[in-house]
């Protein structure tokens, strides 16, 4: 039993995936808040007087939407790590998500700054539903990969 680079990669990925799970949950909550906004009658009577609560919520949503880029970077980062560690299977499992991230970022609306979401179209029901679905799929993916990395780490530690 030896502590190899591959084992280190898995440990790091394990920690980062935990962070990604957290991001994904945040993402889902943010879009849910956007969607169900109007169903909250207390907010509704105060559309013109944004309450402290509402401002807080807006900030929360904004932050969640800003977390997209870090998420992508983290994912790219441990993909590169796995590449260096020559963990081909793990890398292969992550490729589809990597490709999806690249595609998603390439096809984002015209924007001068970084970011993915366009405030003028985000309220469109199709896009909202898509983003929510995306969040759930990612959450599932990250959860599965979390356990996979755990397994991978132990396997690498034991076999070497």
């Amino acid at each position: 039993m030896a502590f190899t680079f591959a084992a280190f990669c898995y440990m790091l990925a394990l920690l980062l995936t935990a962070a990604l799970i957290f991001f994904a949950i945040w993402h889902i909550i943010a879009f849910d808040e956007l969607k169900t906004d109007y169903k909250n009658p207390i907010d509704q009577c105060n559309t013109l007087n944004p309450t402290v609560d509402r401002v807080k919520k807006i900030k929360r949503v904004r932050l969640a939407l800003k977390l997209v880029l870090p998420e992508y970077l983290i994912h790219v980062f441990f993909c590169v790590m796995f590449l260096c560690a020559a963990e081909w299977l793990t890398l292969g499992l992550n490729m589809p998500l990597l490709a999806y991230h690249v595609w998603r970022y390439m096809s984002r609306p015209v924007m001068s700054g970084p970011g993915l979401y366009d405030p003028t179209t985000i309220m469109n029901a199709d896009i909202l539903a898509y983003c929510q679905k995306e969040g759930w799929c990612k959450l599932a993916f990250y959860l599965l990969s979390f356990f996979y990395y755990l397994y991978g780490m132990i396997y690498v530690l034991v076999s070497s």
Partner: protein, 878 residues
């Protein structure tokens, strides 16, 4: 196989159908190439053509049609006449618009209609709208008059108080019970709104408490039910609410204890004067800022004279009160501000040349009280056109000027009117030319329909946040990237005006249009710092909004400015079954600050029946509303995906809907293309949409004009769109008093609507085409001299000038009758319409614009109506 469809509603995007979608591109290319076309309009002038005959096709029409259809054009007429039905049954229900020569009504079809189910108990009205029509045989499909919108099938009491269809319309006047039923009908469900329309009659209510549902905040409306004297049940969320004491007293009848007689409960359109609960800050004053391009190009076009004159004329009529403020900023490669402080002897110009970091030179005197500084403002307007006559500055720093305007206005909010004549070339937001003129008529994909930069969008969002609305007037002869520029108005709830090749002398038609638009623009009502919320019965939800605004939340639109000429469209979906209710209601509430500084809420409520049968859904289809909503969806699609996708989706909307209808009455297999009477104009309107500048391919269309047409389709109210898409054509040289309307003391003749085909034009007649924002008069070569003399005021055809834009006021009955008819058409539109007159021998540009509206005719690259029907039929049989 790629299927291009609109996801009519979110959960139902259906990939299941395996019908292949023929790309609109390929089909239009083939038809295009098959015709070494002599334009059929030319033949009209050639004189060999006697327009009224149904038998002879226009001389110039190509004899052969493109391969995919296998039909030859000349067979069209026999095909119209052939009668596949074994037993012709000339039914009286055809009304007057079916010439006796045609007997398309058949036993088979009547059988079909009875097979449609549920017909036993339906009303006569519904039976009529469900009457199957074989489109391939029904030649005169247009009703003799512009058809009124379908009446919802409600009890008389409800119908009487329901919202006017001019303000609030639903694509399906019978709301399907479930999403599944809606999917089966393959029709879009949505609303078309014209919330701030100029109204002649509007109950205004001042009361301390505005009665609203405690749970969903719906305003009390005619469709709520009173359980007893003290309680009412909300018609949207079904919560039972208390009636407040104040509401028990009726100010109209001055009686107590009759809450159901209050004006709120008697009218579906009311306006409340809002209390301070509805204010975030004290209501803002009316504030107008004019941002004027004064570069060489702008001076050359001469718009400044027109603008300044127009503003001078209308200075008194600007909506506002004693607090009204006004300001001016001009820009070329630098930004110029004008100090109009009361007490100055003349306006002071301040130049800011640092356009990378533009700042406001002085804070309090750039926006001045109009009343106090009126003389200075007048001085400035008189001097302005002369100030830049010798400018050599060709650059335009629109972006920095807009930033300056934003900084200037942000403390209060208001309206910024931008006049731009070229591509912005300096500072933030500069744009490059993206149009390749060689691709103007390409049938391949049209690119650059979206913005090149998000500068204008971001700025618009900032403006929207500070309650600043930006209206854009683009008066340029070259490409100016309207796709990018228009964003500044789109998201700040402004409006866009475009005058291609504007010149104050060389292009009188554009100048007059600009003048009339300005006149209307400056004097029309305006609402500031507005929000609009749309609520609907529990179970229905809003899917997408269309129009100019920023969506703040799923059902809330933020409108920095609201004007009476803008319309909105809303796509809806059915999330929960509506089975336990028989009525569905929609309420649009517009909260705004009037130009007099009053906070007001305008509430419209629409009530519609809920149905469970597919045939009833078809019976209640409002084809005009459907077409408008589809147009909006198509434009979104062409920007997000591609133009050819959007075109395919439009065609598929017709194909799907007619297939669904056929499948519904499937026990008989009729030949031909069957549509319910309520939807018989569907293919025609979709064809007309495909021939709009916004969506056409193959015909040379400048990118800016295309984008402008898209902006118009998205932001105009329904009536305006319908006139634009499918104008009304009348023959006006032989109007009689038969069937005339008698309004007040004037007689308004009612000539029948003509189909939009060159066949209907004769050289002996004079034809008026009403396109909403413009009217064309086409005078045939052999038009009778009395008409030309008595109505147009010229001795004969040869002496008619080429640029007439008004019908002269002559004291003959002939002229009076004609003018009465035209002004009656005007009244319908409420906005000022420009009359464009032109004659068949005239310059090409107006002639083309007249003939491009004849949507039923075939063009080099697009189907004729009959070909389109065959195309639809072919798609259906796949």
């Amino acid at each position: 196989p790629l299927i291009c469809k609109f996801p009519l509603t979110a959960p139902s995007f259906d990939f299941a159908s395996d019908r292949r979608c023929t790309s609109g591109d390929s089909s239009s290319t083939t038809t295009g190439s098959a015709s070494p076309v002599p334009n059929s309009y030319e033949s009209l002038e050639g004189g060999s053509y006697s327009g009224t005959s149904l038998q002879s096709p226009p001389a110039g029409v190509p004899a052969k049609l493109a391969p995919p259809f296998g039909y030859n054009y000349p067979t069209m007429h026999p095909a119209y006449q052939q009668n596949p039905a074994p037993k012709p049954d000339p039914s009286p229900s055809h009304g007057g618009y079916n010439p006796p020569g045609y007997q398309p009504y058949s036993q088979v079809l009547t059988l079909l209609s009875s097979a449609l189910g549920g017909l036993g108990g339906v009303s006569e009205l519904e039976a009529e709208t469900l009457r199957p029509v074989n489109l391939l045989q029904e030649r005169n499909i247009l009703p003799p008059k512009r058809a009124p919108p379908p009446e919802p099938n409600l009890s008389n009491d409800l119908r009487k108080v329901n919202c006017s269809p001019d303000t609030f319309r639903c694509t399906l006047t019978n709301i399907p019970q479930t999403q599944a039923l809606l999917n089966k009908a393959r029709l879009p469900l949505g609303l078309l709104l014209h919330p701030f329309r100029d109204l002649t009659q509007l109950p205004v209510i001042t009361s301390n408490t505005i009665v609203r549902c405690r749970s969903c905040r719906t305003y009390i409306n005619p469709f709520v039910s009173f359980l007893d004297q003290r309680r009412w049940k909300c018609n949207l969320c079904y919560r039972v609410n208390d009636v407040p004491d104040e509401f028990m007293y009726n100010p109209v009848t001055r009686s107590y204890g009759e809450p159901h007689k209050r004006p709120e409960v008697q009218n579906s359109t009311v306006e409340f004067i809002a209390s301070s609960d509805y204010m975030l800050r004290p209501p803002q004053p009316a504030l107008y800022l004019f941002l004027l391009d004064v570069s060489h190009n702008a001076v050359e076009s001469g718009y400044l004279n027109v603008f300044c004159q127009s503003l001078l004329d209308n200075l008194e009529k600007l909506p506002g009160d004693t607090r009204t403020h006004i300001g001016f900023v001009t820009f070329d490669s630098t930004v110029h501000f004008y100090n109009l402080q009361e007490g100055l002897s003349q306006p002071q110009m301040l130049v800011v040349s640092d356009i990378d970091d533009v700042f406001i030179p002085t804070h309090d005197s750039l926006l001045v009280n109009l009343k106090e500084s009126k003389e200075l403002v007048k001085d400035l307007l008189n001097a302005l056109p002369g100030m830049f006559t010798h400018t050599r500055e060709t650059q335009s720093a629109l972006g920095p000027a807009l930033q300056a305007a934003y900084k200037l206005m942000s403390p209060t909010g208001g309206r910024v009117s931008v006049f731009q004549t070229q591509l912005p070339t300096l500072g933030a937001g500069l744009l490059q030319s993206r149009e390749d003129p060689n691709l103007r008529s390409s049938t391949k994909n049209v690119q650059h329909l979206g913005p090149a930069t998000d500068f204008y969008k971001k700025l618009a969002l900032d403006c929207s946040g500070q309650q600043i609305g930006v209206d854009l007037f683009l008066l340029s002869s070259q490409y100016s990237d309207l796709a990018s520029l228009a964003c500044v108005s789109k998201y700040s709830a402004g409006s866009v005006f475009y005058y291609p090749s504007f010149h104050h002398i060389h292009n009188t038609a554009q100048r007059q249009k600009f003048q009339k638009d300005l006149q209307r623009y400056l004097t029309r009502k305006i609402g500031f710092e507005a929000v609009m919320r749309i609520r609907c019965t529990k179970g229905l939800s809003i899917h997408t909004f269309h129009g100019n605004f920023f969506v703040r939340s799923t059902d809330l639109l933020s409108l920095a400015n609201v004007n009476p000429d803008s319309g909105f469209a809303v796509q809806m979906s059915i999330e929960e079954s509506l089975a336990d209710t028989s009525l569905a209601c929609f309420q649009a509430a517009l909260l705004y600050t009037s130009s007099k500084g009053k906070r007001r809420i305008r509430v419209h409520t629409l009530c519609l029946p809920v149905v469970s049968q597919l045939s009833e859904v078809f019976a209640g289809a409002d084809i005009q509303a459907i077409s408008c909503l589809l147009a909006n969806m198509a434009i979104d699609r062409s920007i997000s995906s591609s133009l050819s996708d959007a075109r395919d989706a439009l065609v598929n909307a017709v194909v799907d809907c007619l297939t669904a209808y056929r499948a519904n009455g499937s026990n008989i297999q009729p030949s031909g293309l069957i549509a319910p009477a309520a939807l018989r104009l569907f293919p025609l309107y979709v064809l007309a949409l495909l021939k709009q500048k916004a969506l056409r391919t193959g015909t040379s269309t400048r990118l800016d004009e295309r984008v402008f047409s898209m902006c118009e389709l998205k932001s105009q109210p329904l009536q305006q769109i319908m006139h634009m898409v499918h104008p009304d054509l009348y023959r006006i040289d032989n109007m009689t008093e038969q069937a005339a309307l008698h309004l007040n003391d004037s007689v308004i003749p009612q000539p029948p609507l003509l189909q939009l085909t060159a066949e209907k034009l004769t050289r002996e007649g004079a034809f008026l085409m009403d396109c909403g924002s413009v009217m064309y008069l086409w005078v045939g070569k052999c038009c009778n001299e009395t008409f030309i003399r008595d109505v147009l005021g010229f001795p004969n055809y040869a002496s008619l000038p080429s640029n007439m834009t008004e019908i002269p006021e002559l004291q003959t009955t002939y002229s009076e009758r004609t003018r009465a008819f035209i002004s009656w058409l005007y009244d319908f539109m409420l906005t000022l319409t420009l009359m464009q007159l032109f004659f068949s021998r005239d310059d090409a540009s107006t002639k083309t614009s007249f003939f491009q509206h004849l949507v039923e005719d075939r063009t080099e690259s697009a189907f004729s109506y009959y070909e389109f029907l065959l195309h639809v039929q072919q798609q259906m049989s796949k």
